[in-house]
């Protein structure tokens, strides 16, 4: 668990958010979440240009076992989605924090980022779930 990148912030529902240099927010699911879900077989991506609200369902990831909603950590507009996941959803299993990103948001309210968990707080959350 100690390999959670320190620049990430998290929702309790296991999505991560990374603020890029250009101020856009990249979103994915945590390594813990992918390992809980197991082999991913399908990702339903949002439409580019769609507006999203923090804490609402934006995408769906499906593993062999279950379907899971992916919430956006911030409000704003979808500016890019990871098209590579259409053919290779297992990228999320292999590299949840980098290549396995899901969508990119132009945030409309940057204060929402302050409400997210930092890497340490998220690590504590995962550990408490495991026990």
């Amino acid at each position: 668990m100690s390999d959670i990148p320190g620049d990430l912030k998290f929702l309790k529902s296991h999505e991560w958010a990374r603020v890029e240099d250009d101020g856009l927010v990249r979103v994915g699911i945590s390594d813990h979440a992918q390992s809980q879900l197991g082999d991913l077989v399908y990702v339903e991506l949002p439409e580019v240009g769609a507006s999203v609200r923090a804490g609402t369902g934006v995408a769906v990831v499906e593993s062999v076992k279950a379907a899971s909603d992916i919430y956006s950590p911030v409000s704003g507009e979808i500016v890019e989605v990871n098209e590579a996941l259409n053919d290779k959803p297992e990228i999320i299993n292999e590299d949840a924090y980098e290549e396995g990103w899901i969508f990119l948001v132009r945030p409309s309210d940057r204060d929402e980022l302050d409400e997210l968990l930092d890497a340490n707080a998220y690590e504590d959350l995962v550990e408490s779930e495991d026990h």
Binding site: V41, Y42, V60, V64, K65, A66, A67
Partner: protein, 400 residues
């Protein structure tokens, strides 16, 4: 209180992800469910299925009792070791459980029933055996401990009842573990571990037959050429104290540990029903595509027969069909299916790793269904109705 098989620590040492499965702490995968699925289709994999319940029936009237208890006919079992798949029905024709019965002697049959249905099965079989005893002989059924509720590891529930002089003894065998070894190379790898005097005999063992053999270090095995994956292989019943050694010997022989997740996708691809998902006590075998397991042989009054015949005469209202989703998405249990004759539902449904798309069983109203669609999160997607199995012996079936 979650129950554990004797292999629990072995699974954990292998890094298995454990889940509660019908009250048992079982491995869902050891890393990748899809890789485990492919290992079984392409080579050999093994599953701990010790949570399943083994029940031995002894006594002079055992065959007669099973004629009454089961919807399939045990009179098909003529050779020692031969196995038969059957439903056990209630009086309404609903499925209490599906099971395999082995013929091990004129006074000895072995049942393997599901894990999640263990308590109700033991109660039902015990109750039926008692009624049968009372009806069929003048002796008073003895040996049953009334009101016993301790189930774990005990043979004293319904399972412990002793027969009357001419009756049937029902005995659970919690002293056994069970390992299923499946895949095109599974039999060869198992046979290599047997005592050499047993090897050629087990090599020749026919499908759906079982025999005793000596495993590593002389451990006594019950080797059955059965399975739940659509591949060739064995299901091996072994005394619990030898299970870990057998598992380790199989692993050393190159058999890959596989979890219950892979077991589920393998059996779905193979077109095999799962109790609780595809049928239960509110569903008759006619509605679960299990008509082939019903033997309406002359003069045999098995439990549920009258109801089945009445349903057949009146026309069965619902049917179970195979469907494929050619578009993106995953079919899952409980999704609504739309047809020209009304709504139905997805029973077992999953992404199928051998086919790289989703397949399912669906229960729909009888009659020509027209275009079948499924509702996935509010969107209607077209389904293609197919004959199943979807996969057999490692290959997609024609038309899938």
């Amino acid at each position: 209180m979650t129950e554990k098989t004797v292999l629990n620590a072995t699974h954990r040492a292998l890094g298995a992800r454990m889940v509660d499965f019908g009250g048992w702490d079982m491995p869902i995968n050891y890393g990748s469910q899809i890789e485990e699925h492919h290992a079984v289709r392409r080579d050999a994999g093994m599953f701990d299925v010790s949570h399943m319940t083994v029940i031995d029936l002894h006594g002079a009237r055992t065959r007669e009792f099973l004629r009454h208890l089961l919807a399939n006919s045990v009179d098909k079992l003529k050779v020692h070791g031969k196995a038969l798949y059957s439903c056990m029905l209630n009086e309404q024709g609903g499925v209490i459980d599906d099971l395999i019965v082995y013929y091990l002697g004129e006074e000895f049959f072995r049942l393997v029933v599901n894990a999640a249905t263990r308590a109700k099965d033991l109660a039902w079989i015990g109750q039926q055996a008692q009624a049968f005893d009372v009806q069929g002989s003048t002796s008073v059924a003895g040996g049953r401990k009334p009101g016993a509720t301790d189930v774990q590891g005990s043979t004293s529930v319904a399972g412990g009842r002793k027969p009357g002089a001419t009756g049937v003894e029902v005995k659970e065998r919690p002293d056994f573990a069970m390992i299923a070894v499946q895949g095109p190379n599974a039999r060869g790898k198992v046979i290599g571990l047997l005592h050499e005097v047993d090897q050629s005999r087990i090599e020749k063992l026919g499908k759906f037959s079982a025999a005793a053999a000596q495993g590593p270090h002389g451990m006594p095995l019950f080797v059955a050429r059965t399975g739940y994956t659509g591949e060739d292989g064995f299901e091996i019943i072994v005394p619990a104290e030898h299970a870990v050694a057998l598992w380790e010997a199989l692993q050393a022989a190159g058999v890959a540990p596989a979890g219950l997740g892979a077991r589920d996708t393998l059996r779905l691809e193979a077109g095999m029903n799962l109790y609780g998902q595809d049928m239960d006590e509110s569903v008759s075998p006619w509605e679960a595509n299990l008509g082939w397991t019903i033997a309406l042989d002359d003069g045999r009054h098995f439990i549920g027969r009258a109801a089945l015949e009445a349903q057949q005469a009146a026309g069965v209202k619902r049917v179970m069909v195979g469907v494929v989703l050619d578009g993106k998405g995953v079919l899952r249990h409980g999704q609504t299916v739309l047809t020209a004759n009304g709504a139905g539902e997805i029973l077992s449904g999953s992404f199928a790793p051998t086919l790289n798309k989703a397949v399912a069983f669906a229960r729909i109203p009888a009659g020509e269904p027209g275009e079948i669609r499924v509702d996935i999160r509010g969107r209607e997607l077209p389904l293609r109705r197919v004959k199943y199995p979807f996969v057999r012996d490692g290959k997609p079936c024609a038309g899938i």
